[in-house]
Point group: D3
Chain length 244, copies 6
């Protein structure tokens, strides 16, 4: 799913750079004799990797930032021969990159709760006019101080003359592709539930699925969700054992 | 300029495949486990080459058709290692490719007058619903029988449930990039006119520029244009000689 | 070893597509202006990966099918920049791919016992005449309903006018390369047996080797084999412990 | 056509390296941990280029020799990023390369008459046993002293324990692909003859076709052929002019 | 850090191949028509991988040797499409490669104590005059019998007319880049020590860091170091537990 | 020859960026997590192309400037898939690139007489301390205002704390490789002189060689040289005709 979101975020950026939507009138990418578009990607997870892959493919100049040197190295390895600019989140380098670029993709995922806010309003205010900010992390609160949730009807707003695209569910732009992707992931699980004799057996055998459950038989089994909505939390491990 | 048009035409296709604009809800490109988008490109000139380059970069499956084996070979060479499906305009192969694909880019340029019409209405009527046709050759009359000129305000219409994008000047979507590109081409010519002591000298020395002139000192110097608008035609070669 | 089998299977396909052996008279691969050969690969394990790598290198159009999205993603990552058509085993997509292609490589490996039969006789009967089927899984029973074991003397037979190559041990075509490969794997194990003071110690320290043993001191230690030939089975873990 | 011959020559080499045909038992190509097959290619024309491309694709180590530094540079450029060993025909380097390699492809084309003989019998006699020599230039006399014309029924012979494949028309192994390729080249010429009002007009307008004609209206119009068979030669240029 | 050392070792080799420093007068790399420089790399760890990557990038012919087929396969995968010559440490193949090459990079790391000596003085004495040996493993004792520690002031010596570069700390040639790299690794650890309430907690939670400590509160906690300098050794695990 | 100079210039830059020679202590190139070295290349001829190729290969970030959009496009095509930043010599973009980069390679060749001076002293004075300037055009007068000819004994000087390397004949660093390259070019010409019966015949038949001659039978035949040293000039064309 993150593959779709990463690739699509660059296509959205291309749309908002063109002047059909009142943008800068730039073509995302590069071609001979014209300095290429500069794209900064925050986060080197799967979203960031596919955004980088697509942006590079279009000929843009890409800079990827992440707090973890290991995630950066994995991204570099996966992108193969086309070496990209990667950097840890060193504030001076990061801010300089943001104020000179044309597009920023925010794709930082928190391990728990809210995604960290790494770009302050002050930095956004120094960006070039008509630049584009796409905050993919908006469903976890966003990683720009200026982000506010938008929707597919009114997907963008402007702040400091910077175009912000903050639709939480980017993948719903391409529902057919997204549903293929989900089917590919869920079909084997559903088949497995059928084969193994019921959901309980699958949960019992498969700690990965156990961890992915939010609600089971009316009980909230995700600690983060329970805390957020102030609901009683039940440990799924215990539920499972007691059911056997 | 054709580089811009080629690349941009694929980004436009991406937009009309997504469901924001009422399209199929597909992501242009491909990713693991989902059959990739199929794109047919008619014409292996510069527009076709850059469309192919961009589409391949996004992960789509690309088929390029052209009547000339030499143009196809040049395109193949320029695309480097990523070998693409290329074919001469064999009608059976071409029609089969068109009725099974998701996007067709028409980029056939005529050497004289109107661009040839290579896709008949009957073939278009068999295309998959919500497929996208982008007729880049529309400024020379178009290479689809179903094409009709549109504009940036109402860029598309539907025929046989196929989305047609027939805006003659695609590059004006990205005016800033386009003006860079034009400057890169015209600046040396203008400098040359200055250096060589006037336009007449530049025309005298440079047969390439001579051939590119449409009107010179009130005379129509392009045979095709003169024929089309029924105006008297003057041969620039003679004008130049007589002026010396 | 699977690397050898994967690459070699494509070279065999090339042989049977040429008309020296009564085939279609096609060159495996593609070149400018001629639609490329279509190759379907079933299974995205090491055999499938190396078959895909070799086929792509020759310029063919490759479609890889596997039931696991994770294996497909690994294959995609390993193939680097040259993105391929990958799909989960969705029956409609799979059957359509098989009836329109020129070569099918069957490389599905079962985790236990017999490899699953994924292509029915009905589908094979609809394939294009003189197409080539190479069933690499034949040593586990094959993944085509029409497969029957053959040998290096009479390696192929025809059914429904489709050429079937079902030699169980493809690697023995290139024995010198194969023995290099085996040496590279066994030499360190043998050195380790020598260093650690006997086979028993190596088995004791190394669960991986423990699992790979079929027979130990006259006892069948593979459950699958024992079941198949109706022999008494002894658990190697117990044997090892009792020997200490 | 040379594209087909170049690619096919490597597939033939793969066949004769495997032990099905009594060869060395090697897999053409390379894989991790085993020194790759070494292939020497004589001639950097189109045949040589496509042989190199295919061999590299299979993972072999490739050395290309040619007398012209410009042809080598073109080949290097066309092969893109994968830099190969290229060398002018320096005898010491060439002979050393031949006696240590597994396969030699001879693809030197003469501009007039017979192709030059660049590998002497003495060098062939020092090659490794069961090595493979494929003399693509055999239709112009061959570039190995040991070459003798063979045919598709008995395609190979052994000399000094080196397997020689000297079938003049390699492309007839893949007749269907070859006829596609020829059609792509001849169809536009035939259409042009039709459009321009007869063969004579096409010849008159097109010096390239003029030079490619061997016989015209019963007259031998190729100097080389006339000399070889001792037939009266007529200059086509004069014939054409006199016919107008 | 090994990435820096690997890349830099090739740049050093380039320096000592040129004749500024009295070398062979060769350009490291290859270009059309001239046989490329041959580089042998011993060890397929990170140093070896980055040395191979850089050498390939410059156009050299690279051979990588390692005792483990798995490390070779990882290196091959990481280098992506540009397949290299890889081989297990088969003595005949290895010695032949060394006596014919221009540069050898020794990058074998021991898991415990001294790195193994894989190239004997006899082999070195047969190398071509003015060849270059760069022993990156010199800080663990070196993998050439002829290696002796040198320093940045007198970095090389000659033995058997082979230039030996044996400076233990190659990365100090590029201190600014190296300190960036170290910061990237240490900064998160230091931040973690701060966040988790002191070094002891970090050690307690993180077995990886536990294993990397050489000295803790005045006690030698590395078995190898204690043995080497004959100092009393204390097991960190016990220290940690007793401190809780 | 320009291939050698281009590649070598980057290796020299690497040497002067390291701190062995008192440089910045940077590794030329890039690796994960550290912003890559920035290299500006002036001129998109063969020298510029090979400098770009080598710098990209090492992982640096490369910007190429040239006054001609066509040369830039050729460079882009030859570099294949790895798209680079190319720009016409737009002063604002150029100066900004120079003051922020680590290395500038000057490789602009004049068609007649002196190479144009494109970087003023003022711009050099704003470069980062310890940056490296390599003026390959120094043999035609240099393209930096601050350039002064140096030699292989004292190859560099500092101005405005920028290291200038201005040795006119860079290729003499790698004389063995350079002489190979020269041999590859001159050997066919010498053979041709022998075959065609003397130098005069070769000159007569070959306008390319005619244009490359500086002195013939005691006469200066190069207009530029004659002007520079105030010597009588003789037109070689006339000499050749009068000799027949």
């Amino acid at each position: 799913m993150s593959e779709i979101v990463g690739s699509t975020s660059i296509l959205i950026a291309a749309e908002y750079l063109s002047n059909v939507t009142g943008g800068k009138g730039l073509m995302l990418g590069g071609f001979t004799g014209v300095p290429p578009t500069e794209i900064v990607i925050l986060g080197a997870g799967t979203v960031g990797e596919y955004a980088a892959r697509t942006a590079l493919a279009l000929g843009a100049e890409v800079k990827v930032f992440d707090s973890s040197i290991y995630r950066l190295r994995r991204l570099q390895n996966n992108l193969g021969n086309s070496r990209v600019f990667t950097s840890v989140m060193q504030p001076i380098v990061l801010n300089k990159a943001i104020v000179t670029c044309d597009v920023v993709i925010g794709a930082i995922r928190a391990s728990h709760g809210r995604s960290p806010c790494v770009v302050m309003e002050e930095t956004v205010s120094k960006m070039k006019p008509h630049s584009v900010v796409i905050d993919v992390s908006i469903d976890q609160g966003g990683c720009f101080e200026t982000s506010e949730v938008t929707n597919h009807t009114n997907p963008v707003f402007r702040k400091h003359d910077v175009i912000h695209y903050c639709v939480p569910n980017i993948a719903s732009r391409v529902p057919r592709t997204a549903s293929y992707a989900l089917t590919n992931i869920f079909a084997p699980i559903l088949l497995d539930i059928g084969d193994s004799g019921g959901l309980m057996n699958t949960i019992w055998n498969n700690p990965g699925i156990r961890e992915a459950l939010y609600i089971y038989q009316g009980n909230v089994t995700s600690k983060d969700l329970a805390d957020m909505f102030n609901l009683p939390f039940k440990d799924l491990e215990l539920l499972v054992v007691s059911n056997q």
